[in-house]
Symmetry: D2
Subunit: 363 residues, 4 copies
């Protein structure tokens, strides 16, 4: 079981939800980059639980310790290791889960794969808690990208039936993305926040949960980055984004709207802008053609399933007695993972983009 990804910039994640610590190692960073510790703290804070009613009340300070790869606040080029200690673990809540796998959780699949030896407490290595070091690593990658003129961000596109407005794929600005990425509940139309929170609260009150979608974007990427075939921008980003728990769909540009289009609608007409740059009138391709950037903003849409931990009684099996069984999940859970998944998805995208640029010798 490998929990690492990346070719030139490589991320390795370790830890379990209720083990002593979680963390990651980030290899391949350029030397000489001054870490923006405020950005790291800000992004971790967006992901941290216990902030409001959309999230689990579990409280973790999530103070990351950088163990290596940084001297006097500046990257050395050596592997950068990040450590986050676990504190508020209440493992007695999970004792029963090994034999009663939770629907839509990894429990049963992991039980088969690891012969029952996997750490099931809090989801173990499968827990969304593991996104904390990814967010920290992503914040570092993000500030390296910013030095190269590349800005990324995202927003909640929908929760349940409540939708935010999509970004304008032709006119997205760096300021807009930075602003979104500083928010706890990032929306393109802030006036949708109340309706979305109501959607989450309604699910929470019903002992239920709700899914959603997230839109990610990046501007400032030079044209000509990426590859055809299997190492294209879409391949690399889809691969890393599917590493964030609850992701069940990833699309680029117009994505799942393309199938309904004719070529004459879908094709992004090209022209020279005033700066002599080749641009497109529309951006259905989401900034990528043939796996390679074309200089337009990069846009990605991600579908997230509802948190599987709900209060309602569910049907499962008893793996010890080999019989059907009912299950009531206790413990603290997120009624909607979308707001906290957003910074993790942005982080994953930042790490993926940095790897793509490094592969192309652009760092």
């Amino acid at each position: 079981m490998k929990s690492s990804i990346g070719s030139k910039v490589r991320l390795t994640v370790f830890g379990e939800s209720h083990g002593p610590a979680i963390g990651c190692v980030l290899e391949g960073l350029p030397a000489g980059h001054k870490i923006d510790f405020d950005l790291v703290a800000q992004q971790l804070s967006r992901r941290a639980p216990g902030k409001d009613k959309t999230a689990t009340p579990r409280r973790e300070e999530d103070l990351p310790e950088i163990l290596s790869g940084v001297l006097d606040g500046v990257t050395t080029g050596a592997p950068l290791a990040i450590l986050i200690r676990n504190n508020d673990t209440r493992s007695h809540n999970y004792d029963d889960l090994k034999i009663h796998p939770r629907p839509n959780h990894s429990d049963y699949a992991a039980w088969v794969k690891y012969g029952g030896y996997n750490d099931v407490r809090g989801g173990g290595h499968f827990s969304a808690r593991l996104t904390a070091p990814i967010v920290a690593a992503g914040a570092i990658c993000r500030s390296i990208l910013k030095e190269k003129g590349i800005t990324l961000g995202g927003h909640i596109l929908s929760i349940g039936n409540v939708c935010d407005k999509a970004l304008d794929p032709v006119r997205i600005s760096a300021e807009e993305l930075e602003n979104l990425s500083s928010k706890l509940f990032a929306l393109n139309l802030p006036e949708m926040e109340e309706a979305m929170r109501n959607e989450v609260e309604a699910a929470r009150m019903a002992g239920d949960s709700v899914g959603g979608t997230v839109e990610l974007a990046a501007v400032g990427l030079p044209a000509g980055v990426g590859n055809p075939m299997f190492c294209g921008v879409e391949n690399v980003l889809a691969n890393i984004l599917y590493g964030i728990p609850a992701v069940k769909g990833v699309s680029f540009g117009a994505g799942f709207a393309f199938p309904f289009m004719r070529g004459s609608q879908a094709n992004d007409q090209m022209y020279y802008d005033e700066q002599g740059q080749v641009k497109c009138r529309t951006n259905n391709c989401g900034g990528i053609t043939g796996g390679i950037t074309n200089g337009m903003p990069l846009t990605v849409t991600v579908a997230l399933k509802p948190t599987p931990s709900i209060s309602a009684e569910q049907q499962t099996v008893d793996l010890a007695k080999k019989e059907n069984s009912a299950l009531k999940i206790e413990g603290r859970h997120d009624p909607c993972i979308v707001p906290r998944a957003l910074p993790a998805l942005e982080a994953a995208m930042a790490i993926g983009l940095l790897d793509i640029l490094a592969e192309d010798g652009k760092l």
Copy 2:
């Protein structure tokens, strides 16, 4: 630029649309497998152009020559190389494209990346023609999977606004998938064929093209295969599927329907079936939880953009004169790539699944 993928079973693709030949190398196959040459021919035939009005009239025999890795029709365990010569190339049609990049094609992005040295004839290495060796390689992987009791297949889920019925994710059978995979125009409801063909023909008559979706599925996969994080079944399959031209979205199970669901709807309730196997009442997860198979059928939906080559005049740039320009694309093109992309997507899925199984020591 790497055009290879895979960890244990590794595919490397080479060639250009109008070069002397295309082909691939497939490493990591088990020794002792008898090649099913009929299946290879059948699958190549599904992908071959010139079959009907949905496809380009370019004719290629696409006779694959196996150069290595096979002795007396049986795999030796050494890398298996496949060669397909190009014959019907009409390169004069493409002379103009290097300076007049086609909208939604790789032309401009590749021109920047390769400094204008890329082979633009027929799309060069970016051409969908490169899926021919992938289909041949996939057919070999498919018959190895079959020996392990795993069957995969797929169908056209939609073209434009005409939709086929989705497979029943709980009850998909091996026979059903094999039957679909033997068809040129694979549909779950064959009665939809006429309406779909009409949709394509309408686009073709208008000098236009049209997009679509494809649904893929696999049955017989044992539970417990895959990984958390970045090497999960979804990560690996999304990575390889995005290698097939025109793919702009990949989702698993309920995919982009999950965001609208509550957890209580989404969760697949578990039980023991009569054979003592753990099963789910529904299969929204598409057979994967936590990146690992759970013993239910695997289902994937893929969104394809419309073929970008259309007859209508389009806006582009003249990269030589650095000015805006109009473009009329001549040559032979597919008004709808979906029927021919389907066998390529199935092949990619077969190769990806074989790699996942090999990684888990299950070959």
Copy 3:
């Protein structure tokens, strides 16, 4: 800069000699293995400094903390992270080295590569101290190998001009290797210890250092493990062994004696032994033909350069003033790295062999 290796079993090392901590992540271990903590402690103790006059007097307790991947002393299959805090660091000794690179050290090469941002204190990420987590990881791999009937070990083959007797490559036993691997100063002929220690002491008294060779071996490897070409046993082991500081030569079996041989001497004649196993009368090939194990003991010889840190005044450059300069290295150093490198080389071999076996689906 990547500091990771391995395909299926993957090791990622992080840390600097005088940073807060060093450590590693080991991915791909099988679940259900009970960690032999005594073996980890024993092997770390062999590598630890300050034990006798052959080594630097720097004292480090080197207590490894396992952060993840282990529950109740048993591997879970998740990445296993090991953390070792640095304590006895005296960085003031090294302040001068950034501008005065030490001959035969990484200082100058790293200064160029990292633009001067690398951590030069104690050698930073290049320090032999980084072998501590490798030794800990190797001890875990070693006990997994032992469960599979595979035992490895090694001994000091030479220091300066004093040579130990080579192992009998045909008759090496598991007991012999285990016995050697429990020793601080492992020799095939223990009576050579005094002469070897005298060789080191003579160098130390002269403010100098001395090189040596190490012989490694493994028994119990099944025949048929490995690959032709670039993923053979020799390729994989040479790759990982060159990761241990001071290694400048790696050979297998008769190694650098082969060039002087005729085929008729070199060829290992084959026969069936009493157990019906195919064996060889001699073992010049060191258990590997065509990159694949043949069932004979695996033997490797490694050449180590003398520790470059010596007391004598040396010629170097002043990178700030861009002029030639003299250098006197202060601080604590090993007059001979060979005894402490041995457990690190054994560990590297254990990790490499586990990866090879995992790749072949033999775990």
Copy 4:
């Protein structure tokens, strides 16, 4: 079984000695490089059999066909595939080998690994014939390196007991290396040729074979290229060099002479030369410290075992009857592989160096 190597520049080799063809795919080449076809032909000619009495009389024209990645003689950046058809195969000579494995050949190890399904004719995928596409690929990499000011070459350092003089590791010149690399029987001291040929002829007359060593070198490599730990120059080169058949030892710089040295002898004293470049008075480190180039010439020594195919009767087993057996090898064989292995080793080094440079973004 993977037969590929490389991170950014990746080589995949396919084929069997007596199959229809051998070849390779080279990914990651920069676009815009004009292929030096004369150099490709020259290097293949050095490797080709049938040239003189040191080699097998098997005759192969070895005309490589470039199938992809090149347009009008210039690289496009797409994967470059090379095909070489096999012609002069006499497979009847090998029919007996599957059950009578040849000592020191891969036969038995491969038989176990592949369950007897491997192609044993002429050594199949294990044959030194597979170095032909490596030599062709290496020639292309070599001319790309030359554009970057990097020249490499090598010579026969010894055959049996006859030794050539080693290159002066401080003063090796590009001209010297180019001159050596244009020779069929490359020697630093051409006057040694007769004695060496006599050594080979003596072995041949005795129905025997003889081993040797090769020295490789590269000049013009910038300082600061490579990595610590497992991705250093030594790791990468050792990994690829061990992919050439018969290699049993690889060392860098003073290599296996280091163990006998004191630090005061071994350390390469540093100074600024007249061009303001940091240089060393000696070059025991062979141009690499800490896995990274230091601007001095790179030197490597490789030990090759004697060709295992000899005429003398040998002891082996009969795998069908499970009993001991005698073996007389018929067919055409090289009494000494060293002269033909030299261009293959140079090619492997060129490919490895290009990958290292590409990884560092230096292409």
